[in-house]
Amino acid sequence: MESKMRPEAGVLGVFSDLARGAQAIRALRAAGHSDVRMASPAPFPELVEALGRPRSRLDSATLSGALLGVLAGFALCIGTAIAWPLVTGGKAIVSVPPFVIIAFEVSVLVGACVNLVALAVTAGRGRRRRPVPFDPRFSADRIGIFVVGDGLGDAETILRTNGAEEVRRVA
């Protein structure tokens, strides 16, 4: 599926070998290319590591969601118990131990939902900000490495010497 965002001008290298792809990324970065991107059919940690991108910052959103869930769970239990103060089983109206179970479940539920929303937002934004030219092979059996910026001739050479099957300019 072709992205509606038009990628910037650059050089695209197509690889069929993971180790060579990772090596090419490292060589490109060592040569001073700061904007190197890639597309791959599987979550290869070697490639992500070679790119040296910072760790995703989903943590704070997800943790906030989980904490919000704890508060919401307790608020629901305590609020409704006070609104309908009926003693059951001789227990206190605000009986914390059973409410912990509800708070835990709501925490997991809200945390997971926030995690999902955070993933959709961050992955979508990342895809739009750092697009890679579309090629159906990148979701099948090839790795695409895309270099943006100056010195594209040098990037072409690095991609070829590191085993790219195909190198092309993207206008």
Partner: protein
Amino acid sequence: MSSLASSREIQEKVLATQGRPGAVHALLIVAAAAAAAFGAWCWSLQIRYGLQVSGLNRPVGWAIYITNFVFWVGVAHSGTLISAVLFLLRAKFRTAVYRVAEVMTVFGVMTAGLFPIIHLGRPWFAYWLFPYPNERHLWVNFRSPLMWDVFAVSTYFIVSAIFLTVGIVPDAAALRDATKGWRRRFYGLFAFGWQGTDEEWRHYARAYLYFAAFATPLVFSVHSVVSWDFAVSILPGWHSTIFPPYFVAGAIFSGVALVVTLLVPLRRILHLESLITPWHLDMTSRVVLLTSLIVTYSYILEYVLAFRGPPSVERSTLAYRATGPFAPLFWTMVACNCVFPLLLFLKKVRARPAALLVICVLVNVGMWLERFVIIVTSLSHDRIPFDWAGIYRPTFVEVGITLGSLGWFFLWFLIFVRLLPVVSISEMKEASVHGVEDAA
């Protein structure tokens, strides 16, 4: 080994499972639909004539419906165990089997969720289970374990469904790019614009880790909560502190056994033998063996605790369970859950899919009987001897609804395997590049 040479082959094998079903598959769908329709008809009889058409009567007020509820919730546990817990433990064999387990989880919870509603007798009041603002300011009782169940099972369903959907995204993108026409549009819906860029994988890997981290305590909490439905009561046979770990182990046991039960025919019908290999079945069956031993230990412990002190009501209940009118079911349960799985110690048994299938079907029968025995025998033998005259027997309506639930579950499952990938394409590609099975 770091070539992606086998990636396209993996994708094509999974893509070949999608599309028009073959004769066997179509027949299975029709059979499942017929069973579900029969179950729906039986339920309609119960709605029309009331719970008198069931075998529920004093003292057995909980029976086959609650048995089915606990069984299906238990079955649903393996999905999260395999996809989340084994993911965190970096168990490589999960790659080929976890999607089946996740799908089973979602449809298992969907099936389980029907039974409390069926058991209500007046299903149109099911919404009373949920807290909602109303003009009389009436609220649900959060101190009741039944309410904990509503929250635990609902949360489990939603989180499992999210986990399954997120896992499908990269695979749907791969199939979207490999197909044309309506299929391309259909897979596009599940791909959410995925292109496999480094930015997407970076956030995806982190988010997936968090989903696993959220789902893992759920595995242990949900069936603990289900066990508290029984354990926090004062009924002998139910009121036991070992119930939460006992139920969790039993849930994983039955769930993983059902995964094997589904995988063995599925890999053959869908020609996935090269992706779901004997090694995957071997490793999964080891989990069955391990949990069988835990369950056996729990059974023994339950009796030891009851019989080591002075005579008690609990001892009387457990003796009734093993020697009373339900004794054949009890001993069948022991044979299915404790004896037959011991064959899995033999490597040659684990290497034979047909043998695994037979053992795992027996385990599922045994685990269903376990829930039935716990629920029904404890209620049958209460503390009023006057009540002991009545022996619970399920009516054809209850049996029909139970069969219908099997049909309902398999109908969804069989449709799913033809519409969406039943093996994780992206993780299989990663495993093939890293030579997971070769290294194992």
